[in-house]
Subunit: 81 residues, 5 copies
């Protein structure tokens, strides 16, 4: 997984039916911006955990998403080393 | 997923039979150009959502594609932060 | 998927039994060189479509390949934008 | 897999229910920092082996993780070549 | 797949039980060093073929590996173009 910052929402009228009702957020991880399904009610400015690949579809095999927000980060332990 | 810009179409006469009838579009995401199955009728100049890996085959396990256009983007909320 | 240029063949005597009979070609995509199973009879100099991950094993789940040539490109529409 | 250095822990109160009870650690591999499920009781400063994708969910298909610490490295043979 | 150079072995006493008995080698592909399950008896200095993702687990779904050495390269045809 990667830690990321939620930048805002995106909308799409013309889409795969399986995406209907799925909110999608823009999330920056390092230098790259991803679009992710929001599974926990995150919002702009939140630091979140992004899971990629089949992990983003855990329990929902036919939803065409390959990235999902699976948690909102509270704290991060000071870096060791 | 990634946001991308549709650049144009590609054609291939000699191909895996499972690709027959599948339209393929060139899509640029950041610095990289992908070839993606078009699932929503996108065209050159459209800003689209690309899903990668098994998400691109959702419901079609034996089609040899690893990237698909799953939506055409309407709007994007102003960037937070 | 990615577009790539076939550079030549590779051979391996000592290999996983499941690779027996599978021709493998060197293909350059952008800055990276991949080794791919050839499913359509491509040859050096051909511009091809590479599918990655499980898409490369579509219909052949136990063959240990993660990249396959699934088409030989004819034409590419002029770039839009 | 990749070798990585454990930097510390992260916590998330608001998360996918399937992550409950799963400790998550920050691990640096080369230039990139990942968040990984800890399967072997690693701690800050440990050099570990990270497995990605479905390998991180081996035996736990519905846990939304795409990276896991699967071993703590003892020694590494001197580099050949 | 990628071609890579075997650098040496790694050992790990504390590991996922499913890794028991699995020899792991350090393999450099371009600029990146991977740890891979050795399926063909490779050794330091060998040029090998690395398969990634589920291809590395072909026939062994619950082994937490995402990269495996599936062949030792004999020859490579001169580069075309």
């Amino acid at each position: 997984m990667r830690a990321g910052l939620v930048l805002g929402a995106v909308w799409a009228t013309k889409k795969s039916p399986a995406l209907t009702g799925q909110s999608l957020l823009r999330v920056r991880c390092g230098e790259t911006e991803y679009l992710a399904a929001d599974l926990v009610g995150a919002g702009p400015g939140d630091r979140v955990i992004l899971a990629f690949g089949a992990a983003a579809r855990a329990g929902r095999p036919d939803v065409p998403v390959d990235a999902a927000i699976v948690a909102i980060l509270d704290e991060t332990e000071a870096t060791h080393g």
